[in-house]
Amino acid sequence: MEWLGPEEWQAVRLSLKVAFWATICALPPGVLVAHILARGQFFGKQVLNGLVHLPLVLPPVVTGYLLLVGFAPNGVLGEPLSYLGISFAFRWTGAALAAAIMGFPLMVRAIRLSIEAVDPKLEQAASTLGASRPWVFVTVTLPLILPGVLTGAILAFAKAMGEFGATITFVSNIPGQTQTLPSAIYAFLQVPGGEAAATRLVVISVVIAMAALIASELLARQVAKRIGGQDA
């Protein structure tokens, strides 16, 4: 692409990569936590609910700082992880982690709502037909919550594409490593004559966000139609 400079192009690619992996890795725990919150009855459920939603209400800078403290090479989690060869500090994986955590509450909310909409009577029926709990989940619950899972994934993806505060606090703003779209826009705005580049990235941000929303809407409608019972 001629009209994008190499640095701008790099930021777009990095952002897509970070958002993609953040979404993919957050999905399994997202479905699990949503299921626990929707169906579980246990002491401390509100605490778990609060923890999950914390990144939504905390200033992103605070979330980023907590990640920094936790995952720095000498941090509580960073130290044991570094023995396993896993490092988040100042790498794109760190950006993905920050993005995943910031998008997690949005994802869990969407999936939780769709799980609450599933009639437990259907799951009961499946169990009387011989399906154990994991099988009930895979054959009945999961297909029925697919629209919610898709919505949650797209929301998390969009959030990851736009995440700025926690990312820049946690992994800084290193071109090619941790400089995502918003960080790049911020960086361009800091230097004289950078407005043109910033504007191009802003347009790209808007296009990607719109595309994601439209795609999710179309997918969800497709799935809902299939489940809605009309012959396909």
């Binding site: 009639d119 009577k121 259907l122 009961q124 029926a125 499946a126 169990s127 009387t128 037909l129 011989g130 399906a131 154990s132 099988w135 054959t139 009945v140 297909p143 029925l144 299939r226 489940i227 809605g228 019972g229 009309q230 012959d231 396909a232």
Partner: protein, 359 residues
């Protein structure tokens, strides 16, 4: 053979019962709130009672004294719910095949082809449940339960959510199941017509206790048996189709006595069961001349049971079987009815509805 004993306390009802269900169709009969659904759910494993034991044949499915209570998926029992509960994301065919995959170690009850034919759901196979009528859904639900290769079928008021026309549509399928598939069935209902049509055994419940257990004919012809109030009382007769008359009537032979009912479709020689509601029976010592009612069953009074208010129930043995008549206490006193007396039971032909006649 199903053996059940349960003790369970829940929302005001204190369930405490024990019964055995022989092969055939056993109806758990009682008013709503009597604990019927709790019993089936405990048998299915959907509910764990305070104390209980459930055994099917040789297999113990649950025994709280020994700390055993198998989850539903390990019990191998088919369950037809009040609402069909079909999986909306699967086609009818996929719904039907859902259970078979988990039950490969058990022998099939009936083949897919036989079940599809018996329930008449062939044209629906490629459709999705959302597009089916209530009756169609319930037929598919019955098929789905059968194809999960169950050792026994449970049904919790499977007709209650359907309108009268749909009920009449589904009832014959349960009759066919009872007669053509050798699968024990535990069937919950509170409608007297359904009990009369379907039950081989009746287990009557009242407020969590067993009121009466026995073969359907015996329980239903017991004058003391009125768990749903005197209006729901009615005895069961067995008869054969003798002749279809030109004037729209069908003549039955019940123990040598001719009975006329509105035209039914069963062929001559076919055996069937007939419910005679107690309140449709008139008693007369001498028959009036020129009477409009067509059916007269001569018999002998077994018992006269006076009710608490205005009614009385009279039990009569006729050559066709045992009958119950619900009359007023004033009539019983005025006619001086007493056990051992000869009496005629008169039943109007039009009082026998098509739904009162079953195979």
């Amino acid at each position: 053979m199903l053996e059940v004993s349960l003790k369970h306390r829940f929302s005001g009802t204190d369930l405490d019962l024990e019964f055995m269900a022989p092969p055939g169709l056993t109806v758990l009969y009682g008013a709503s709130g009597s604990g019927k659904t709790t019993v089936v759910n405990a048998v299915a494993g959907l509910l764990r009672p305070d104390q209980g034991r459930v055994q099917v044949g040789e297999d113990i499915l649950g025994d709280t004294d020994r700390g055993v209570w198998l989850p539903p998926h390990k019990r191998g029992l088919g369950y037809v719910f009040q609402e069909a509960r079909l999986f909306p994301h699967l086609t009818v065919e996929q719904n039907l095949k859902f259970g078979a995959w988990f039950a490969q170690h058990r022998p099939p009850v009936a083949s897919l082809g036989k079940v599809v034919e018996m329930l008449g759901i062939g044209p629906l196979l490629s459709r999705r449940p959302g597009a089916l009528s209530g009756g169609e859904k319930q037929r598919v639900a019955i098929g789905r339960a059968l194809l999960a290769r169950p050792r026994m079928l449970l049904a919790d008021e499977p007709l209650a959510a359907l309108d009268q026309a749909r009920k009449s549509e589904i009832l014959p399928y349960f009759e066919r199941l009872r007669d053509e598939v050798s699968l024990p069935i535990l069937y919950v209902c509170h409608a007297p017509e359904e009990v009369a049509r379907l039950a081989t055994t009746v287990v009557a419940l009242d407020q969590g206790r067993i009121l009466q257990v026995g073969p359907a004919e015996d329980v239903l012809s017991d004058p003391g048996f009125a768990p749903q109030g005197p209006r729901a009382v009615g005895a069961l007769l067995r008869a054969n189709v003798a002749h279809h008359h030109e004037d729209g009537l069908t003549e039955l032979n019940a123990g040598g006595i001719p009975l006329f009912v509105p035209r039914i479709t069963q062929p001559v020689g076919h055996g069937l069961r007939l419910r005679i509601a107690a309140q449709d029976v008139i008693l007369a010592r001498d028959l009036p001349k020129d009477m409009s009612a067509l059916n007269v069953l001569p018999g002998k009074i077994d018992e006269v049971r006076m009710g608490k208010v205005a009614g009385a129930i009279v039990a009569i043995t006729t050559p066709a079987g045992k009958l119950l008549a619900r009359i007023t206490r004033r009539s019983a006193d005025g006619m001086a009815l007493a056990p051992g007396q000869a009496i005629n039971a008169i039943v109007k032909t039009v009082a026998i509805a098509p739904d009162d006649v079953g195979r």
